[in-house]
């Protein structure tokens, strides 16, 4: 079955990102397809490559990047939500005149249309939030 996933909260503060990750992992293990994971609201913070969690804790952001790499999962960050919150890729940083960017590998920044499209294309939309 083909799934779309929506993550509304950032890493660590709420369990939403953890739950979404565990769900996606379990779905992949069962042979399902993850059409897209869309990060909205504070969910965009999952896409920062600058986070440095304590050694004895999970690295949520890195875990997503690795999942994208290993399973070709499409991780999309909402551009409007990301701009508001300071998550930028190199191109966006340049366009906005910012001197740094912070998007992690495996994520791409795009519009809300990607969420709508995913919800239509997938057979199920699963939402994780606060």
């Amino acid at each position: 079955m083909k799934f779309a996933i929506l993550v509304n909260e950032g890493a660590y503060q709420h369990q939403a990102s953890d739950s979404a990750y565990q769900f996606v992992k379990a779905a992949l293990e069962k042979g399902h397809e993850i059409f897209r994971v869309f990060f909205y609201h504070d969910g965009v913070y999952n896409a920062s490559r600058l986070s440095v969690p304590p050694q004895d804790d999970r690295n949520i952001n890195k875990r997503w990047s690795e999942l994208a790499q290993q399973h070709q999962v499409d991780l999309v960050v909402c551009i409007a939500a990301a701009q508001r919150r300071g998550i930028l890729d190199a191109a966006e940083a340049k366009r906005q005149g910012k001197d740094a960017d912070n998007l992690a590998e495996g994520f791409r920044i795009s519009g809300l249309g990607q969420l709508i499209e995913a919800s239509i294309e997938a057979e199920r939309l699963i939402v994780f939030g606060d």
């Binding site: 369990q15 565990q22 769900f23 992992k25 379990a26 199920r124 699963i126 994780f128 939030g129």
Partner: protein, 102 residues
């Protein structure tokens, strides 16, 4: 297919479970996960609400979230069914649509 409602908040802190129960159609299912698992336990002020709801809904609880919070299956209300993440995935394939009560 019937709807799967997901509730991830404690019934003591928020109104999401009570709103879910007010608006969930008969025969639809409810998954309690994250802090929502506190609703699945025996002997609390909410136990009766869940026991009543079991007459019209299938209710599930996510075991990893139960264990994380120091609760065991023995403490879960009879009739509430246990699932792990794989079981959560299965529920989303056998229900349609999935409605989150955030």
């Amino acid at each position: 297919m019937n709807t799967l409602h997901t509730v991830n908040k404690s019934p003591f802190e928020r109104n999401s479970l009570s709103s879910c129960l007010r608006l969930a159609a008969a025969e639809s299912s409810i998954l309690l996960f994250e802090d929502g698992i506190y609703a699945a336990l025996q002997g609390t002020e909410f136990s009766e609400t869940i026991q009543t709801a079991l007459a019209t809904h299938s209710i599930y609880v996510l075991v990893p979230d139960l264990q994380a919070r120091g609760m065991s299956l023995e403490q879960v209300i009879a009739g509430v069914q246990a699932v792990d993440y794989a079981g959560f995935v299965d529920l989303t394939t056998t229900h349609y649509p999935i409605q989150a009560w955030l």
